[in-house]
Amino acid sequence: MTASMPGRPLWEERLRGGAHWSGVARRGVTLRLTDMEGGANVAALFFNYEERLERYNMADTLKAQHTAYLTKGCVCYSDMGRVLCSVTDDTCGWHDTFCGVSNAAMVEAKYGKTRFQDQRNDVFKNGYESFLNELGKYGLGKRDIVANVNFFSKVVTDGSGDLHFVAHHSRAGNYVDLRFEMTTLVVLATCQHPLDPALEYRPRSVKVTATLGSPVAADDLCRNRCPENQRGFRNTEMLYA
């Protein structure tokens, strides 16, 4: 699947289920997240690497594009009217934006109590503390945990606003490509989705593949999805002018 990625290959890393990870994706880099087993969930937060007060903003992302979920053609907005990254390809079709992450109490209640002393590195992980682990490395913490994206997970709502988790949404081999329009601190956690009804603790592994692509073309799908995105790209280009 890496072969089909546009651009120059940079690196690849496999994250086991329940892992947390952070790194910097420079402007122009595309990260492909691949669901290796089916049923993965990748909770993600994004920060402007040069000014970490600027961060992914769920509300601005949804409002600008009149969507409640992310898929190919969508972008992730920062709270400063700029585009952190664009979803340039997506074989999964729907990525959740409003359910947040699991926390320690939820994971213990759902899957049972584990201790490092007994389980070693198979100890059960939760999304919230996974974020804290990564954010702490950059001087960030609780105040910086905002509504995150849950890649590969689908939660729909009915007319009353009730949530319905769609099981078996992502299949093995599904991928989503994120082209970074800003140099971004990327924080990932491969814990199960907080609404995953499965009673078994079984977070799935993903592969992260980085490539370096060409500058965004004038006829780019994400830039031209709506006039809002054209203005978002314009704002972003001002930062790097």
Binding site: L62, A68, D79, G81, F98, C99, L195, R234, N235
Partner: protein, 225 residues
Amino acid sequence: MREAVHMDESLEPTLIESRREPSSAVLNEVIPAGEPWVGTVCRGQTFRIVDLEGNQAVDTLFFNAGNSAERYSAVDTIRSQGRLYLTTGTQLLSNDGNVMLTITADTCGRHDTLGGACSAESNTVRYAIEKRYMHSCRDNFLLALARSGLALTKRDLPSNINFFMNVPVTPAGDLTFADGISAAGRYVEMRAEMDVIVLISNCPQLNNPCNAYNPTPVRVMVWED
């Protein structure tokens, strides 16, 4: 968490009225159109917001008064109740998973917590680059925090509640800013389960038809029980 999507449920929210009389309120203030407000509501007290003229978005955040790192969390609130919209019975949860307030009465029926606050920067994206100068909720929040002396900054502004705002999501995942379902005199009332700082921006947005392009005043009231 059923998998099937049922569309046969009534779209009409249940409206619950309050027995409280304005004469017994210990706080009764009007927030003029477009202005911020900061206040404290103590555990056990009841807090009411009245939409005085109808369809006014009231952008609201709550912080634990004793530990401001604990604050309202839209995603925890949505996930915990398994429903997007807020109304009577909704427990407003913090990022630590604690109940901050419980909505006890609501004559509007549906409040938004996905739409967030407007800002100068998001206005350039949503409306036009030339709208940057216009007053916004984030500017209100930032000024209110600066004036209050609270040790809170832009970093402490997560996704907020928009009381009286109607932001429906369709089963296909489309998000729209629909015409308001509120009206003059509608109110929402909530009981504080911990001492909370209330941060409000009475939304000054002039570009969104959801308030008929006309920001209007709201009233805030507090009762001892």
